[in-house]
């Protein structure tokens, strides 16, 4: 009887519902391309429409998980920890954006901050899986390469890369969920 794996099942389930990360990642990408006035995505209505579509997708994904993998309320301690980690992550990223904007460094602090926050988010929540380490390392290394141009590019390309990293990580998380809890259709429903 693996006590630790049973006790961590709820935490793993909460973090491995990776399909949620796809609309979130797409929103990051949309936001970055909108800020950079990239083609039609620079129009003012595109981002709100994207938010609405992402919200619908997020809710549909939640329903899919609930129907196929069930619902669980984490312990109060786990909820507080996730909330604190989220708030700390937001502060770190906002700080990095400000530094990128005001000090014009040769590297993208926004990208580096996203890499570190993602790494910490997964490490605190359920422990790092190999794909988290690879994705965050790639994001972090991209952040320290000196090819970013002006502050606008440093921040928004960082946002774009973070969006891609979040979505890709989500796909791998969902694959890990399937390995750990079984495929969506594979439940004995009696």
């Amino acid at each position: 009887m693996e006590r630790r794996s049973l006790e961590s099942a709820a935490a793993n389930y909460s973090y491995l519902r990776g399909l949620h990360s796809i609309p979130i990642g797409v929103l990051f990408v949309l936001s970055a391309l909108g800020n950079l006035r990239w083609g039609p995505l620079g129009r003012i209505w595109v981002f709100p429409a994207g938010v609405a579509l992402a919200a619908v997708a997020y809710l549909s994904i939640s329903r899919f998980y609930q129907q196929n993998y069930g619902r669980v309320s984490p312990s109060a301690r786990a909820q507080v920890r996730a909330g604190a980690a989220g708030a700390a992550g937001a502060v770190i990223v906002a700080g990095a954006v400000q530094l990128d904007w005001n000090f014009d460094p040769p590297v993208s602090l926004t990208t580096i901050a996203f890499a570190l926050v993602l790494l910490a988010y997964y490490a605190v929540g359920m422990g790092l899986r190999p794909h988290h380490k690879v994705i965050c390392a790639v994001l972090g290394v991209a952040g320290v390469l000196p090819f970013w141009g002006n502050a606008d590019h440093r921040i928004n390309l960082g946002l774009l890369l973070a969006g891609v990293a979040i979505a890709v990580s989500g796909i791998f998380d969902h694959a890990a969920l399937r390995r750990e809890f079984g495929p969506a259709g594979g439940l004995d429903r009696g």
Binding site: M1, R3, L6, E7, S8, A9, A10, A11, Y13, Q66, Q67, N68, Y69, G70, R71, V72, S73, P74, S75, A76, F181, G182, L187, D188, R189, G190
Partner: protein, 108 residues
């Protein structure tokens, strides 16, 4: 109660299926039937039967309700259930420690 009595395992909890259910529930506020089935890998019938026994013993609460017009069963540990599962794992840890000590003693 002597130390030997302390080490008697709780038979109701020690059954692997029920131990798995209580261990999963001990780490959450509540969970539904489907999640528990996924986490423990028990069949629907097995899980139902174990849950009935645990409810009879006052270790879990079972709440049946409708979520979006579909039946949903919510499960949580009672205070007694939380205490009993924590004590059971303590007992298992103590037994493991005793076994390791006696193995080390035999090797010497």
């Amino acid at each position: 109660m002597g130390e030997d009595d302390d080490l008697v395992l709780d038979r109701l909890i020690h059954e692997p299926g029920r131990l798995a259910i209580l261990t999963v529930l001990s780490s959450v506020q509540d969970a539904d039937f489907i999640f528990l089935q996924r986490a423990t890998r028990l069949t629907k019938g097995n899980l139902s039967s174990h849950l009935s026994k645990l409810e009879e013993a006052g270790l879990v609460t079972i709440e049946k309700r409708f979520v979006r017009k579909k039946p949903n069963t919510s499960l949580a540990l009672t205070a007694l259930g939380r205490e009993r599962i924590a004590r059971h794992w303590e007992q298992l840890d103590r037994l493991r420690n005793i076994t390791q000590l006696s193995e080390e003693f035999t090797e010497e």
